[in-house]
Amino acid sequence: MKLWTPLSTILRRTLPSIPYFPTSQFQSPTYNFSPSPPSSSTNSPNSLTHNFHFPLKTFCSGSPENFHVRCWTCGHVAKAALFLVCDSCRTIQPVDQSVDYFHIFGLERKFDIGVENLEGKYKEWQKKLHPDLVHSKSEEERGYAAEQSGRVIDAYRTLSKPLLRAIYVLRLEGVDVDEEETLSDPELLSEILEIREAVEEAADSQELNQIQSQMREKLSHWSNSFANAYRCRNFEEAQNSIRRMTYYERVNEEIVKKL
């Protein structure tokens, strides 16, 4: 569950020639990326891709500050901030990090979204952006296709899963969630240990299914409580809900492994 996947799309394009772990700045033709400010709140602080975190300001800004974007091949001026493919010549454009996942899917930035239409929109984008479709185009465009298509995959995965979506909307608010944080609430700790024991000792798949449906209930409960907290901008409580969801999700994963 690494939210920072957008940075790996940057790495993906320039992978063979990236100066790893630069000390200051990594220049790209369109945007400036700098190492994220020291913080204890990334989920994998020593990640190989860590130093390519975007400064939150750039990451969050959905503002139309780059409205004068032009198509890199035909020079056509973008009509909207969402400019993944040129309307005029169909060429795939470089990734614009100021466009967030909700924006890509034409959704309002909020937690309660209908996920039913995501798949359709996802496929629609892939039909325009997937690298397989620009196989015979220039290397540069193939690179953009890989990047854009990878980003749409990440966006789709993030938005379709409540836990990932929750972490994402908080991050857009500038709040980082540390999923690997050690559990400090003794009550939750003993509850989790108990459930894990039950999973380990479950005699058959029926018992596992039972625990799984309990986990689903808990997940939907905490997902609701996240939605409320987020609406009221109570980020403390929202983080707490995410922590709960993370643990129940892990139990769920373990059950799936055993089933």
Partner: protein, 572 residues
């Protein structure tokens, strides 16, 4: 930009060839090289057509015969009779043998074939040879495949009246990246450039996506997403895919596959008819080859008949006063091949599970491949999916090659005014890719069925105090222990700063790019530091260019557990 100092790329002959764009793109042809049969198809500008050889065959036997020392394959060569293929001079089933070492059970099960398959069980490539004028002439599956592909290429060039270079090839789901390099090597030997390798059921999925798209255009049914389960079983492999299709886009949800197929059914049935088969055959003399050949043909024939009748009479004289006279009925046949059908069933269940799809959500069930005529297989699929009927819109033995031809056109950048090529397949990783850690365990970094392109990473740590080096051994597969998986390569990280065990964090990152190239990156970080202790090492995989099973053992003998790693446990 300069290349980083620590990039290690394989010097393999099959890597990174850039295709130049031209005004008139050459349409890549689709090739389905099956274990037993093969076909070629191409987009002709308005539809897919299957090419025929000079004998008017769409399906050609996949074999190469070394008679008279000049090899010739099943495309051009006409068998005088079936037994000619079983005389020891012909090599077939290369798709089952390619890229496998001599400890592989699939290689072992090939020892009763008429040509020579010898194993030393030390993890090197098996000794494969054809009998030419009473002398064993050694060859390799790559060479055999290349000879065969040269004939296919020539046939296609005559018919299409143009040189052929680009191809889309179908491969089994269970093929490792190492096996893929062997296929690419064979293609390169034949002067072909592989534009795309498609797991067989995903080629079928693309054809299905096109059919659904056409149905929408003709206003049959809505444009809503449809989930299909595809089972493709030929002589060598059984593969399953679950795909979600909408608007001409086929998103593969999950894949599952195994090297089990008609060949296993044939061998099981042969053993049933002649339990002493192994003893008879171990000598591998001309008479034994002939007897086994006779039995093989008779058994093949019987299995064929059992797809339309309830029992079959087998009457065959194997020579040396060995006669088989037996009636085999459907029930007996199914019992004898229980292991095969059980494996198929478990693949379907696993695939549905991995795709997180309930059987009631599956709109269509597609069963294709040479084995799709076996009643038991059809019933089994319907019973697992709780359905009364199978999808009827496809020719079971042509579906995969048609899908490959469609992909060939799409990947060549061809567009169709009627939107027939408005198609896309979004692939997933068929096998997990990971490294050896926690003793002898295979620890996946990229799980199977991950949408590609992708990048994942996992943190490991040292097992000894002051451990300064670590071995990254990369495997691909599904087994829990490393030896159950395919070795892709290995490299060593050096210069880890001395620290107590468990302290250095060794991050292993795996990246599969849009061209399906796998890169493995490894970096070392000490706690409190935000910078790598040593330069990040990046290696393109696979690095092994031959069966290297023995290398791992040698590494083991030399280093013991001295360079081992363990996973970092998730905190609670």
């Amino acid at each position: 930009m300069a290349e980083p100092a620590y990039t290690v790329a394989s010097d393999s002959d099959t890597t990174g060839e850039e295709k130049s764009s031209s005004a008139f793109p050459e349409i890549a042809i689709g090739i389905d090289v099956g274990t037993s049969q093969c076909s070629v198809a191409v987009w002709n500008g308005s539809e897919v057509v299957i090419l025929k050889n000079t004998r008017n065959q769409k399906k050609m036997r996949s074999y190469v015969t070394f008679k008279d020392d000049i090899p010739s394959g099943g495309v051009s060569h006409q068998l005088s009779h079936e037994h000619e293929m079983l005389s020891g001079a012909a090599i077939f089933n290369m798709k089952r043998l390619i890229g496998r070492v001599d400890t592989d059970p699939v290689v072992h099960s090939s020892k009763s074939l008429p040509f020579l398959v010898q194993t030393l069980d030390i993890g090197v490539r098996p000794f494969i040879a054809a009998l030419v004028n009473n002398v064993w002439r050694s060859t390799t599956p790559e060479e055999v495949l290349a000879i065969f592909l040269v004939e296919l290429k020539a046939m296609a060039e005559v018919q299409l009246k143009r040189p052929i270079r680009n191809v889309v090839l179908t491969i089994p789901v269970s093929f490792s990246r190492f096996q893929v390099t062997r296929i690419e090597r064979a293609c390169a030997m034949a002067g072909l450039h592989v534009l795309r390798l498609m797991p067989e059921p995903t080629a079928v999925a693309l054809l299905y996506a096109q059919q659904q798209q056409q149905a929408v255009h003709e206003n049959i049914g809505g444009g809503a997403e449809k989930i299909a389960l595809i089972l493709n079983m030929g002589a060598g492999y059984c593969d399953v895919a679950v795909t979600a299709t909408a608007g001409g886009v086929s998103q593969i949800k999950a894949l599952a596959g195994s090297a089990i197929g008609g060949e296993d059914i044939l061998q099981n049935t042969m053993h049933h008819l002649l339990p002493d088969l192994e003893i008879l055959f171990s000598k591998h003399g001309i008479n034994e080859i002939k007897s086994t050949g006779l039995l093989r043909v008779a058994t093949q024939d019987a299995i064929h008949k059992l797809s339309s009748q309830t029992s079959v009479q087998i009457d065959v004289d194997l020579g040396n006063e060995l006669k088989i006279c037996k009636v085999v009925d459907q029930e007996e046949f199914e019992e004898v091949n229980k292991n095969v059908f059980e494996k198929c069933e478990s693949l379907i269940i696993q695939c549905l599970h991995d795709a997180k799809v309930q059987t009631e959500d599956v709109a269509d069930i597609i069963v294709v491949g040479g084995c799709s005529y076996i009643p038991k297989l059809r019933n089994l699929v319907m019973s697992v999916c709780k359905r009364q009927e199978l999808y009827k819109g496809m020719n079971p033995v042509e579906a995969a090659v048609c899908g490959a031809a469609l992909e060939g056109a799409v990947a060549s950048g061809i567009s169709d005014p009627f939107g027939s090529l408005d198609l896309l397949t979004i692939q997933v990783t068929p096998l997990a890719i990971g490294i050896r850690a926690d003793g002898n365990k295979f620890v996946p970094v990229i799980p199977r069925n991950t949408t590609m392109p992708t990048r994942k990473e996992l943190a490991f740590t040292t097992v000894h105090d002051n451990q300064t080096e670590a071995l990254i051994v990369v495997y691909e597969g599904e087994g829990e222990k490393v030896e159950e998986n395919h070795l892709l390569g290995y490299f060593k990280i050096m210069g880890i700063p001395p620290a107590p065990k468990g302290v250095p964090e060794i991050n292993v990152c795996m990246d599969i790019d849009a061209s399906n190239v796998l890169r493995v990156l490894a970096g070392v970080v000490l706690p409190g530091s935000r910078h790598p202790a040593i330069p990040v090492m990046e290696v393109r995989m696979p690095t092994v260019d031959d069966g290297h099973g023995w290398c791992v053992e040698a590494l083991h003998r030399t280093y013991g557990s001295g360079l081992d790693l363990v996973t970092i446990q998730k905190k609670i």
